[in-house]
C-alpha cells in the first residue's frame, strides 16, 4: 500500500455525503471517487464534492490504486457489494446493519476471512464523545455492576430516504435503528444476549411505513436486562433524541441529547441546538475532534495501517444483527426468542 490511502465511496445519499466529508478531513486519505446506481445523480453529487464519478462498480474494483471501499448504499445491497469488494482485494467499511440476514452476514465475514482484508461495520455510536465517556466511566467502575440498561432512539420518519420505509430494503426500525443501542449495550455488557422479546408496531397516526416503532427487551447471560425503544413515528416537530440510562450496583449513569446543550441558535425561521459533535469539524479551526464519523473512519485507517482488527468487525456486528433479527421474529410469533438463532 502506498503512503496515501485511496477511498471509493458507494452511495450518494445522506451517509455517503457524511462519510466523504469525514474522509476528506483525515490526513493521508484521498477520496478517489463515488459510485451510485443512477449515473446522472452520481455525476451531480461527485461534482458537488469535487471528486470523480465512477460509471460502474467494476471500475472501482479493478482500480488498483483504491485501497478502501466504503459502502453507504441502502442496506439490502450491503452484503453483495461487501463480498465483491473483499474478493477484489479491497478493505471494506460498510454502514450498519451489515446485512439483513445472518446468511448474508456470514457470507461477508467469510469473504473477509478468505481475502485477509479488513472489514469494519460502521457502528458510529461507539465514536460519539458522550457515549465514549459512558464506556470509560463503566470501565472505571463508577457505578459498579450494571444490572439494567435502557435506551431510546427516535424522531420523525427519515423522509429524505423513502427506502427506509420498505422493510425488505431496510429491515425496519428494529433492525436499522435499534442496532445502534443493541451494539452499544452489548459492548458495555461484555456478555452475550440469551433471550429477546419485542413488539414492533405501526403508529396509527403515521403515514410513513410499516414497523415504525420497536420496543425490545434483551436478557444477557450475566443477568443484565436491557430495554430499547426505537422510533420513526414521532411527530415531525419532535427533535431526534438519544437517551441512555445504566443502573448499577453503585449508581446511575445517564445521558440525553435533549438536555441543555452548549449552543442554541434561534433565528426567524428555526432554532438549532448544537452539541459540538453535531457540527462538522474543521481541523485547525476546531481543535477538538468532534465529529464521530471522523473518529470512526480514523479508527478504520489506524487498523489498516497497524494491521489490527477493527473494533466492530464482521463477527462483532453479526452479534448485534442477530439480536435485532430475533426481535423481529419475537414480534412476529408473539413469544420470546432464544439465541443463537438458526441460520
Amino acid at each position: 500500500m502506498a503512503d496515501k490511502i485511496h477511498v471509493a465511496v458507494l452511495g450518494y445519499g445522506f451517509m455517503g455525503s457524511t462519510h466523504i466529508d469525514a474522509w476528506q478531513m483525515i490526513n493521508g486519505c484521498i477520496v478517489k471517487g463515488v459510485w451510485g446506481r443512477d449515473f446522472s445523480k452520481t455525476k451531480q453529487f461527485a461534482a458537488e464534492k469535487g471528486i470523480r464519478a465512477f460509471p460502474s462498480l467494476n471500475e472501482i474494483l479493478d482500480d488498483r490504486e483504491i485501497d478502501v471501499v466504503d459502502i453507504c448504499t441502502p442496506t439490502y445491497t450491503h452484503a453483495e457489494y461487501a463480498v465483491q469488494a473483499l474478493k477484489a482485494g479491497k478493505h471494506v467499511i460498510v454502514e450498519k446493519p451489515m446485512a439483513l440476514s445472518l446468511r448474508d452476514a456470514d457470507r461477508t465475514i467469510h469473504a473477509a476471512d478468505k481475502s485477509g482484508m479488513k472489514l469494519m461495520v460502521a457502528h458510529v455510536l461507539r465514536f460519539f464523545p458522550d457515549y465514549m465517556q459512558v464506556k470509560k466511566m463503566v470501565e472505571e467502575e463508577k457505578i459498579g455492576e450494571i444490572c439494567q440498561a435502557r435506551a431510546f432512539r427516535g424522531g420523525p420518519f427519515p423522509a429524505w430516504s423513502p427506502w427506509f420505509g420498505d422493510v425488505v430494503k431496510s429491515g425496519g426500525v428494529a433492525v436499522d435503528t435499534a442496532i445502534h443501542d443493541v451494539d452499544f449495550i452489548t459492548w458495555i455488557s461484555s456478555s452475550t444476549a440469551h433471550r429477546v422479546y419485542a413488539k414492533i408496531t405501526r403508529n396509527v397516526n403515521s403515514d410513513s411505513s410499516k414497523y415504525d416503532i420497536a420496543v425490545i427487551n434483551i436478557r444477557y447471560g450475566d443477568g443484565l436486562i436491557a430495554f430499547i425503544e426505537a422510533s420513526w413515528a414521532h411527530p415531525p416537530s419532535f427533535p431526534f433524541t438519544m437517551k441512555l440510562e445504566l443502573d448499577g450496583t453503585k449508581g446511575v449513569i445517564a445521558l440525553d441529547n435533549q438536555s441543555p446543550v452548549p449552543i442554541s441558535l434561534y433565528t426567524k425561521d428555526a432554532n438549532h441546538r448544537y452539541a459540538p459533535e453535531s457540527l462538522p469539524w474543521k481541523p485547525m479551526i476546531h481543535p477538538f475532534p468532534l465529529d464521530p464519523f471522523y473518529r470512526e473512519l480514523s479508527h478504520f485507517v489506524d487498523c489498516i495501517r497497524r494491521d489490527e482488527n477493527p473494533m466492530t468487525d464482521g463477527r462483532v456486528s453479526r452479534r448485534s444483527l442477530e439480536i435485532c433479527l430475533a426481535a423481529v421474529k419475537s414480534s412476529e410469533i408473539g413469544k420470546p426468542v432464544n439465541l443463537p438463532l438458526e441460520v
Binding site: P129, D130, M132, Q133, V134, M137, K142, I143, T249, K250, G251, V252, I253, A254, L255, D256, S259, P260, V261, P262, I263, S264, L265, Y266, T267, K268, Y274, A275, P276, L279, I285, H286, P287, F288, L290
Partner: protein, 338 residues
C-alpha cells in the same frame, strides 16, 4: 527554539499551573525544565508531582536554556516576572489578569513591542471549541448585527479559598471582579472586534462573610459601536452544584439569538451512598487549556501572532479597574478618563 520546547514555570500559585503542566506533558516535543516558586513547600509539591527541578531563585531557572516561561504566580507578581522573562528574551504565556494596575499593563505592552518574543495571554475561552463555534456563527452574520451580550462566568465559592492569596488584596489585586471579569470581557471584545468605552459595576454584599475581598458583582459595559454587554463573574455558586462553575453567554442580534453554555458537555452520574445523593456531571468535552498551550508552542514555532496578546491583557486590566472605580463612585466610568 530548541529541538525540544523547553518551558519553565515562574510561580505556580494559581491552580491553572497544574493544568498547563498536564497539557505540556500531552504535547509531543515539550519539556518542563523546572519551576521557581516563592512558597518553597508549594514549589516542592509541584516539582514532585511533575518530576521536575524546583529552583531557589528566578535567575537559576532562567539560566537553564529555556525557550519560554509560563507565569502562574500570584497576580501582583506577574509584572516583575514578565520583566525578568523579557530581559532574558523568553517567550511568555501569562495567566490572567496580566497585571493589577494600568501603569504596569501599559509597561508590559511597551516592553513586549520592543522584543522579538511571543507574549500570549491565558484567555482560555479563545481556545474553547464551543466559544470558537459561536464566534464563527456571529461572523457568519446569521444573527445580523449583535446588540446585546449577557454572560456569566461564575465560580463555586469554595474554590478561591483553596489558595489563600486569592482573597489577599495585596497579592490578588482584588476579589471576584479582578479574578473573573476578564474572560467574559475578552470574549465580548473578541466577538465584537470592538473596545469597551464605558463601565458600570455594582458590587454586592459578600455571600462569604469570612473573606475581605468582594465575591459578587454585576458589570454593565458599553462598546464603541453601542453594543451592551453584561458580566457576572461572581464566586457564589454553592457546593453541591453540578460543576465548578460556568461560562455562558446570551447573544441577541437583529436577526436572531444564541445561547451558549460552553461546558455543557457532560454525562450524568449519580452515586448511591445516600438517598439524597446529588447528580454530578462527568465532563467529556474539549480541553481548552491543552489547545491554548498547544497554540502557544505553534505560534513560537511558526512565528505567528498569538490569538490573545499583551494588548488584550491591557484592555482586560483596564475594564476590571474601571469596574472598581465605578463601584466606588456609584456611576459609570468612561474608559478614556482613567
Amino acid at each position: 527554539m530548541n529541538a525540544t520546547f523547553r518551558v519553565g514555570f515562574l510561580g505556580v500559585a494559581h491552580f491553572h499551573a497544574e493544568s498547563y503542566a498536564k497539557a505540556l506533558k500531552k504535547i509531543p516535543g515539550c519539556e518542563i525544565v523546572g519551576v521557581y516558586e516563592e512558597d518553597t513547600a508549594l514549589g516542592k509539591r509541584f516539582g514532585e508531582e511533575f518530576k521536575i527541578e524546583c529552583y531557589r531563585s528566578i535567575s537559576e531557572l532562567l539560566d537553564k536554556n529555556l525557550d519560554a516561561v509560563i507565569i502562574t504566580s500570584e497576580n501582583s507578581k506577574h509584572h516583575e516576572h514578565i520583566v525578568q522573562a523579557l530581559d532574558n528574551d523568553l517567550h511568555i504565556l501569562c495567566e490572567k489578569p496580566m497585571t493589577i494596575n494600568i501603569r504596569d499593563a501599559e509597561d508590559v505592552v511597551s516592553r513586549v513591542s520592543k522584543k522579538g518574543v511571543k507574549f500570549q495571554m491565558c484567555y482560555v475561552m479563545r481556545y474553547h471549541t464551543v466559544s470558537i463555534l459561536v464566534k464563527e456563527l456571529i461572523d457568519s452574520g446569521i444573527l445580523g448585527k449583535p446588540i446585546l451580550m449577557v454572560g456569566t462566568n461564575k465560580l463555586n465559592r469554595a474554590l478561591p479559598l483553596l489558595r489563600n492569596w486569592f482573597t489577599n488584596l495585596s497579592l490578588s489585586g482584588g476579589g471576584a471582579v479582578m479574578d473573573h471579569t476578564v474572560h467574559l470581557a475578552d470574549l465580548m471584545r473578541w466577538y465584537t472586534e470592538d473596545e469597551v468605552v464605558e463601565v458600570y459595576t455594582e458590587i454586592g454584599k459578600n455571600v462569604n462573610k469570612a473573606i475581605s475581598v468582594e465575591d459578587n458583582f454585576f458589570t454593565t459595559v458599553r462598546f464603541g459601536s453601542g453594543l451592551i454587554g453584561h458580566i457576572d463573574g461572581s464566586w457564589t455558586y454553592a457546593s453541591g452544584f453540578y460543576t465548578w462553575g460556568d461560562v455562558t453567554m446570551e447573544i441577541i442580534g437583529t436577526d436572531g439569538a444564541i445561547l451558549m453554555d460552553a461546558f455543557r458537555q457532560n454525562v450524568y452520574l449519580i452515586g448511591d451512598k445516600h438517598p439524597g445523593d446529588r447528580l454530578s456531571w462527568s465532563y467529556y468535552g474539549c480541553d481548552p487549556d491543552l489547545e491554548m498551550v498547544r497554540d502557544f508552542k505553534r505560534c513560537i514555532q511558526e512565528d505567528k501572532p498569538p490569538r490573545a496578546t499583551a494588548k488584550d491583557g491591557l484592555e482586560g486590566v483596564r475594564i476590571s479597574l474601571a469596574s472598581y472605580e465605578s463601584s466606588k463612585r456609584g456611576e459609570p466610568v468612561q474608559l478614556h478618563q482613567l
